[in-house]
Amino acid sequence: MTTATRVICGLGLLLLLAGAAGARDLPAADDYGKVILDNFSARAGLAPVRFDHWLHRAFFTCRLCHVDIGFAMEAKATRITADMNAKGFYCGSCHNGTTVFNGKKIFPSCAPGPAPAGSECVRCHSVGMKDERRYTYAAFTEKLPRQALGNLVNWEEAEARGLIKPVDLLPGLSTPRRHLDAQADFSIASKGFWMADIIFSHKKHAQWNGCEVCHPDIFPSVKKNAVKYTMFEIAEGQYCGLCHDRVAFPLNDCGKCHAGKARRQP
């Protein structure tokens, strides 16, 4: 190998590493899955709302909030107002001062109009406020099993070990359903020979999401190989990328999806 070839190879490797490092600029563990809501807060003289998925997903399934309560899958798209909450919808479905969860009354969402002194509005309208939140990421996740990336919690294992028990039904709002039958996992062939095939856990996804969170909006086909997903599209937030890399474990935790047999050699 000539010196010139070595230099070119070295530079190429350097560029590759720099690209890989820059491609994923994930937030810190306590900010992973954070959503800032500020559609109407400023108008009401309040700080924007900080919503943490890591806190709520420990108690409720994705389906309960994104189907039964009706929260959009896109930040700020629901356009929640205090009036809607006060009527018992959206945040007010649970944050109404009367719903009891784990033996405690869930604090009420703030009422329309100016916030009275000593109100609990700041518990959610907390962006830029110091020490207003009662739950801290470190204390809340301390005893939960770990994973390497994202918000560093292995939620699947936490549920399997009984450390979290996400509720899937909200009395008065949810429609009672029979327990969803366990569906078999299936594999999706990886496009690159260097990656193992994807093992998709239909069981886990369906238990947490039901059917209508994913179909047909996110995955418009159930026929195998009918839609060709690429990692570029996924990284841009389509398909798996709508949740993974934003709330669920991130895309650079490759082995969690590409968990099948090692692929053939080229």
């Binding site: 039964d68 809607m84 009527k87 959206y90 909006d217």
Partner: protein, 108 residues
């Protein structure tokens, strides 16, 4: 004696206003109105509470559920906000899933 009569009259008037008055006066709170709301909600639960079973339905059952969604859509459209917004979205998701399942079955 007079006082008792006034109290009785007030109770009767209250009952009449809430339950027995003819529409539109009585329709604000009347049991008929409550039943009407329960009607659409019961239908919503009956139709959209079965999405987890979508794959087990036949094509004709799915078509029937889609038709019921369309009928419900008109009723939900008449609700006040934010109830309309929440249930219209839920109904849309539910209908879309049945359409999706039906198409998947018909393509097979």
């Amino acid at each position: 004696m007079k006082r008792r009569a006034v109290i009785l009259a007030a109770i009767f008037l209250g009952w009449w206003l809430l339950a027995a008055a003819p529409a539109p006066l009585g329709s604000i709170f009347s049991p008929q109105q409550v039943h009407a709301e329960e009607g659409w909600e019961a239908e919503f639960r009956a139709v959209c509470g079965r999405t987890d079973d979508a794959m087990t339905f036949s094509a004709s059952e799915l078509r029937g559920l889609i038709d019921r969604c369309d009928l419900l859509n008109a009723r939900i459209g008449q609700l006040s906000e934010p109830q309309r917004k929440v249930f219209a979205k839920r109904l849309q998701m539910c209908r879309d899933l049945y359409v999706f399942t039906l198409e998947a079955k018909e393509k097979k």
